[in-house]
Subunit: 329 residues, 2 copies
């Protein structure tokens, strides 16, 4: 690899001058600039960002900590983040933190690599305090977890409203017995959806009924099977995410209950899959790419010196597809 000294030698100037010619800082004669440029091309010179960072304390890198890459909710979010970062000439370290243990280790590595900022999706730790100690003094943005992060800047969707609009949509179709398949209690986003659901039910004069189901297909299926086994009457379900909703639809169709004929189902997230399942899933759409790009924008501001805690809340919207229909019982 050619160094700036090689370039300088080839151009017949000092390293200092070559540096100035390349950066545009300081006065350099046009002729010199040209000669340096030629040397750069000839040697295929690429400035060593490592050396530059050591001096500037800026690496122009960002760490993106994801709980599970294969979760279909993340690709769009990661893409949004990557594109925003790329526009800012920043490069993203993608790390998967599948346990608190690994998260601690990987975040430590990220600190060592001197990333300018860290974006964490969800919270891999039991508490916000754990996250804070792991991250130390590096700028931090938490995505998709707001309520439990009082002192941290966050980007999150309006999940209370998300819980509302699913119910509103169903009530509009004449449903009265609407059950909510709740996500993991550890995730505060689940709790918010539950609150939104409960609030909406009560405002319509209906009785809330929440069942734990988690964020996986299997959980949604199991919850429905339990409901059916207990002969709980219902004509509609709202799920904590699309995967759970898809599991619920499967269990329903296996039990001979047509969707939306007998039971209407509303998902949450609007992952790609939602439009491909049959019937296509009605769901509460999160702007995943925006979640990623706004996180990058916010962390960039924090890196530039912004110190106040910013909590950005993005809107969700109902996407009506085929899995919901008029109540007929």
């Amino acid at each position: 690899m050619a160094t700036i000294r090689d370039v300088a030698a080839a151009a017949g100037v000092s390293a200092t001058t070559a540096s100035r010619a390349l950066s545009g800082n300081g006065r350099v004669s046009p002729a010199t600039i040209v000669r340096v440029g030629i040397a750069v091309d000839a040697l295929d010179y690429q400035p060593n960002e490592i050396a530059r960072s050591l001096l500037s304390k800026r690496t122009m890198t960002l760490g993106l900590v994801v709980p599970d890459i294969t979760n279909p909710f993340f690709p769009e979010l990661v893409a949004g983040a990557e594109r925003a970062a790329s526009a800012l000439e920043r490069t993203i370290f993608l790390v998967e933190a599948r346990s608190a243990e690994r998260a601690r280790h990987d975040i430590g590595l990220l600190r060592g690599r001197a990333v300018d900022g860290i974006i964490v999706i969800g919270n891999p730790f039991p508490s916000a305090a754990d996250l804070l100690t792991a991250v130390g003094s590096i700028p931090l943005i938490v995505v998709d977890r707001a309520a439990s992060m009082s002192e941290i800047s966050t980007v999150c969707c309006d999940h209370f409203n998300g819980g509302n609009i699913g119910v509103d949509h169903l009530v509009g179709l004449g449903h009265k017995r609407i059950i909510h398949l709740a996500g993991p209690v550890a995730a505060d986003v689940s709790a918010q959806r539950v609150h939104g659901y409960e609030f909406a039910m009560r405002s319509h004069g209906l009785t809330p009924h929440v069942v734990p189901a988690g964020f996986e297909i299997t959980g949604g299926a199991a919850a429905v099977e339990a409901l059916l086994a207990d002969h709980v009457p219902f004509t509609a379900l709202t799920a904590a995410n699309d995967l759970s909703a898809i599991g619920a639809m499967r269990a329903l169709s296996q039990a001979g209950l047509s969707v939306p004929g007998r039971v209407s189902v509303v998902g949450y997230d609007d992952i790609q899959m939602a439009s491909f399942v049959s019937p296509a899933l009605t769901t509460v759409r999160q702007p995943s790419a925006d979640l990623g790009s706004q996180a990058v924008e916010l962390i960039a501001r924090q890196i530039e010196g912004e110190t106040k805690v910013i909590r950005r809340v993005l809107p969700v919207e109902l996407v009506a597809r085929e899995s919901t229909g008029r109540a007929n019982s």
Copy 2:
């Protein structure tokens, strides 16, 4: 951020000794090790990998260049790569190269960041030579593009066989008029699938019929519509990927042709979605995670000094689901 000198000062030793205490290189008294350890904890010291890299010429980072993050084929691959890298204490820079222009720019950045190696999925450039000049002297592995990369180490699936087994499966079900929906001609993986398809058709004494359809849902749908408009007779399709197959199934069902009742469809890749569409897609499964992890393994070997070109070919397998059935015409 605390430096090693801060730690050394706190422990009452020189920076060198602190360094040795931390790395385990060289003889250091147990007592010193303990005192350094205490200082590290007290100061929340994290070694600066940037400084370390400048010296060692090793950054323990890898660049992963993906053409399109949101393509459902990639998450599993990226996850495989990330997990393998993490096991090797390496961190991955994820960059999306949506054009040759951006690819050149981003790979340049990766070079500047002194990544130890670059893994490129597909080829963002018109030719292998372009890729080589962009990457320069950094270790390189190309994933999912083998034929056109004679001098580069690659990890790829056996797409010729992939083309075969789709046909074999259909012939086994009694199909004779089997059309192949080909992927983009630019991708050599498409060409291999076409060859495999043609070879298999001829070995069964059947006439190949290839139609261009691309890698997108819309392409698959459009191809089927054209076929139908031209009254081309067929009872089965093999597609270049799952997305195209899903598009084909849609066009088929829109035209009132049931799958697999009237037409059987075989996809390619086995993305998550394949098992969720209705009918669930029979497809040729690629071990995507392995593609990623093997690429990391190979690049690590190259970084360790391996110089010979390695071309790893992974097997594909047919996953029979609901979109294929016996031919009845």
